[in-house]
Symmetry: C3
Subunit: 339 residues, 3 copies
């Protein structure tokens, strides 16, 4: 594909410095760009690579553009601008409108217009698939599930019965939506009695769910993923959890049962949030943080001990076991000195 720099400027509402007739044929990083590529800098850390890039044009913020003499698209948000340019060069997965002969689809399922259903997909009774959606190979969609329009489901996904997924969702491979919540009542003989999980999962519009992620159905009612939520790989969301609009959760983060997370939150990788909590809107939880209390105020919250040389860490970790005693000794000394 060939697009002129002028057209890219118009498409992204950027200012142009340089040759508007320049033909761009692709996108790449500063380091890997060839002579027909456009690239970008959003992290000032990479500014130094501008002097060595072979890219024929670059997207820059006004301050980085100042003093750069090459062909430039200037925009206050170079990252978003570049993302739009990538879309211009690369088509997203689109439906072929074909249903593969090996797909096994219940007679009572209703399949919208122009839907792709690929090899070995299994669709149970009462399912509805919205127009223009794509269900890739080996995916299982249980009875009574509702899938919205223009949704893309990658291979080997398992969606349990009664799950609802909105429009324009992207569900990555081998994820599981609607598995049983982890609920058991202790019995007198110390064995466990299963609490049937008779609720479901409701996923909104424009949601992305990563590979290998698991979202449990609720015990009663619904586990809810609101519109615009983006979830990375290997995230675990327990039963009855609710995630608010446009919240993002990075890889390996996990939320225990019945916790409600607000809108516009950012949950870092491998973070863990205990059950029955409320996290208000606009909270940022950094990677690996351990959240065991509700958070009422927006802001950035963190925990964890950064890695150190093993020899030093071992000594410090040993001392941690006596931190309470240290604090008491310190108080005693303070008192002693005050007198």
């Amino acid at each position: 594909m060939k697009i002129s720099l002028g057209d890219l400027a118009r498409l992204t509402a950027s200012d142009l410095s340089g040759d508007s007739d320049l033909i761009i044929e692709g996108v790449n990083t500063l380091d890997d760009a060839g002579k027909t590529d456009i690239s970008f800098v959003s992290n000032p850390k990479y500014k130094k690579n501008l002097s060595t890039t072979q890219a024929s044009a670059v997207v820059l913020s006004p301050d980085l553009a100042d003093g750069y003499s090459g062909n430039t698209l200037i925009n206050a948000d170079p990252y978003l601008t570049f993302a739009k340019i990538v879309h211009a060069f690369h088509a997203e997965t689109i439906t072929t409108g074909q249903i593969h002969s090996s797909a096994i689809i219940s007679d009572s399922a209703t399949i919208g217009h122009n839907v792709s259903i690929e090899a070995n997909v299994v669709i149970e009774e009462g399912v509805h698939i919205g127009d223009n959606s794509v269900i890739k190979a080996g995916t299982f969609i249980g009875a009574q599930c509702k899938i919205g329009e223009s949704t893309l489901i990658y291979p080997n996904v398992t969606i349990y019965t009664d799950t609802t997924i909105g429009a324009r969702a992207i569900i990555h491979a081998n994820s599981v939506i609607g598995s049983d919540g982890f609920g058991f009542a202790p019995q007198q003989d110390r064995s466990w009695y299963k609490i049937l999980q008779v609720g479901n999962v409701v996923v909104g519009d424009d949601v992305e769910i990563g590979a290998g992620t698991t979202i449990d159905r609720s015990a009663l009612g619904s586990t809810k993923i609101a519109n615009g939520v983006k979830i990375d790989n290997q995230v675990q969301i327990a039963h009855n959890v609710e995630i608010g609009e446009h919240t993002v959760m990075a890889g390996g983060s996990m939320v225990a049962g019945s916790t409600k997370i607000g809108a516009y939150c950012q949950i870092g990788g491998q973070a863990g949030i205990a059950g029955h909590l409320r996290i208000t809107d606009g909270v940022i939880i950094t990677g690996r943080a351990m959240v065991i209390g509700s958070i009422k105020n927006p802001g950035v919250y963190s925990s964890g001990i950064p890695a150190d040389e093993n020899r030093k860490w071992r000594r410090n970790a040993m001392r941690f076991r006596h931190l309470d005693e240290m604090a008491k000794t310190l108080k005693k000394i303070e008192k002693q000195l005050d007198q």
Copy 2:
């Protein structure tokens, strides 16, 4: 389904306060219950919702029931009582006794009576499936596996060769049982020589295994999951591990190789247990704890730093790197003051 409150009292051996002829048609939470639903309170935290619920009857403990005027089932264990009522209203997945024409089953496999085998299931040579079991779509069962009676295996599960699974087990979607343990011997050129994993996995009766969970086969001998063990989603159990009866493991918890965990333990979410340890019976390990030594006494064990405002955490985490020096300084001062 309609069941009278009197019948529910008899079914659960509860005392009844109110109208025994009242017809109940479903179960729900206090908040979401409609006028024909029964609900419950087990966590006193939710007692306040009793005044606003529309539920026509509630399961309560004797102390919560005292002073409540609505229709009540009174039982010392409201949670277990409610779990039994949910079972009364909701049938569990049961076998249809049908084998789908797309299933690929080795001639040497033996399939019990009244077994469901759904679309695209693959069953290799020498496998045995017990009576009344259900194998859902896309699941792979490797050669020589033995699956007990009335066991339910959800879609897209992979069970490697020689795995044994007991009766009444529930195996959730996209889990993997019997994959190779992670064992490599270092060679002189610093590359790794694979230790073939020639053991297997043995899973007992009444075990539940969550979605996306992985359990590795042993190098030699068996990785063992005892009767009644309940394992949540995305749990990782390494080779040669043994988990004792009725132990529960929450989402994302992981156990390294050759560790033996006793019976009646509770392992919290994202907890990590190092290899070659022994955890005695009745140990509770709280969420995100890091266990690097054996535990000989029952009790509750924890670690981890709860999240704090980022600004404060950063300062404290920085200080942690000097905790050993702080402890030494403190000792020196104590000595100085003693003199």
Copy 3:
């Protein structure tokens, strides 16, 4: 299979003490070995079991062999020696050279000689599978993927388009290679704009990838896993990450975007490495460590608080929140005493 002890000595270049004509029929642990088995001790911790084992021969290091009177293979590296003996007794999975009739293979795919493709495998257009490779049931291989020779892919794996995998790789069940990196640009209305991930994943030769592991394709360019890398279960590798030769990563470890890890590193279980870092060659990161800065020098790095009795931990964790104040108080006191 029967192999004489003399042949095993020759095969592994070990010294033999005892009966070279002794017939060995299998391998096992010291505890479980029967009278025709060979076993080994590599961890001196298990030396005591030598007195009770029924094994007819044992692999020992020279110092452990000294004073042991049974049949012995003596080798400076008993673990590697035993690994080679296990290979002698147990054949690895090998190709049957057959393509199952239910496999769905694009006409434009090129399949090498003597390849096994099992039931319900889906292979899209332009894929190449190298000679002697085995693709097990239910695995999906997207368009334009290249798979090397003698590679083994277990069931229900999903490999996205344009992925390259080298020779002699082992890919375990339900892993995902090539899923979209997690990249979104924030928009003015606080919703997220997807950064199309138009790069790919390139996996070298002799790589092993564990069950349920996920490796994301890059935004631009390639996510790179070098030759000889060994990755355990439920590992997450984000977009644009590079892992150097012969590095090993244990279960549940995760690496965020664009980080480069060197060769010969060892990453412990559940460790987390933040994005945009560089970890030099030969770094060992212990289990559960949190790495948030680049590491320039080889060595062992650690973090995390080992579990303690809950009652004690709670007090110490509470004190951690005031560690900075404690340090300041301590400094003040030191100063006061100095004067």
